[in-house]
Symmetry: C2
Amino acid sequence: MTDTTNTSADLAEFEAEFAAQLALAPEAQDLLFRSARTANTFTDEPVSDEQLRAIYELIKYAPTAANSQPLRIVFLRSAEAKERLLPLLGEGNRAKTSAAPLVAILAADTDFHDELPKVFPHAGAAYREMYAGNDDARIGSARLSAALQVGYFILGVRAAGLAAGPMGGFDADAVSREFFPDGKHQALVIVNIGKPGENAYFERNPRLSFDEVASFI
Amino acid sequence: MTDTTNTSADLAEFEAEFAAQLALAPEAQDLLFRSARTANTFTDEPVSDEQLRAIYELIKYAPTAANSQPLRIVFLRSAEAKERLLPLLGEGNRAKTSAAPLVAILAADTDFHDELPKVFPHAGAAYREMYAGNDDARIGSARLSAALQVGYFILGVRAAGLAAGPMGGFDADAVSREFFPDGKHQALVIVNIGKPGENAYFERNPRLSFDEVASFI
């Protein structure tokens, strides 16, 4: 028997032993990681612009390649905006997205390189040239760094005391076309955001153990 | 003038206003986000296996597509192991990687789908079939979810009170071949880990403002 996650008391003890070794306070560990769950229902309570700005001011420090910060976000609040999104989602994701007070479309800006002279002062101009001449490298870098920022974003939502419901089940090309008509953005993940409603959570799925994912050499 | 990050006292006030709106305690915000910086030098103090396990037990809860958890990690400690890596890094990344007590190669397992029946019990077998028949979808999903997990990993290192130095400047194909000879893994990010040494930090680069990255519809 490995330490694959389940919901037993043995597990709680196993995790508590490791949790005590961290510098991060146990309540913060719970808020961001252990108690945080993908929410599938939401209350009507709105999410304010100020909350979203506070989340961004925290997560903007994510490290990215050449400080490129390629993550772009479109927040949907109105029923009209969500009506444009719902048909592009997998069927199982429609009802909960319709009910969420706020929906964030997280995308990679594949033209991030134009910002490099500003955000990476010591070498940004040279990087901009390199990326301008290599579409594959530029798009790959945009997707990688923006996906890393998505991890930060989800934790930022939880840091705000809100529930996040990240989803990958949607037609990414269609969402990119619909919400980023310049053709220079690629939608990566969509996140429902709000206060969790009734029966918001499914049973947690098992996690791989340390020994299944990590090795030492 | 927008609220683009700089190091002024005005900025501190601006950020404090938003920080107060979050549920996460201010010290935890500092530890994980605001005070956390990419370290470029390290002390000799070793990083223990127990610390790495504690980090993993925290970050294993990252949400991933179909709970696929495609992130795989190779930890390098010995000089011999690092000697295999150093020539594959950009020149500017070699000295600091050589000095780091621990180096983590973070990769996407593009054959993650074999684990789905275990980690996504209610539909894993069907997802496994779908991914088995579509290399592009499978590799794209592996890279996206694993990159999101990289974001969690970096924050996990900081939660352990350690400094992280994430790097994208390396020959990813060569690193994948050297450390994952099965041909089924793609190296994404390499992270130096340890206690920060002297002059560990460069000046922080500017961040994009909320209004530069986000919009509402």
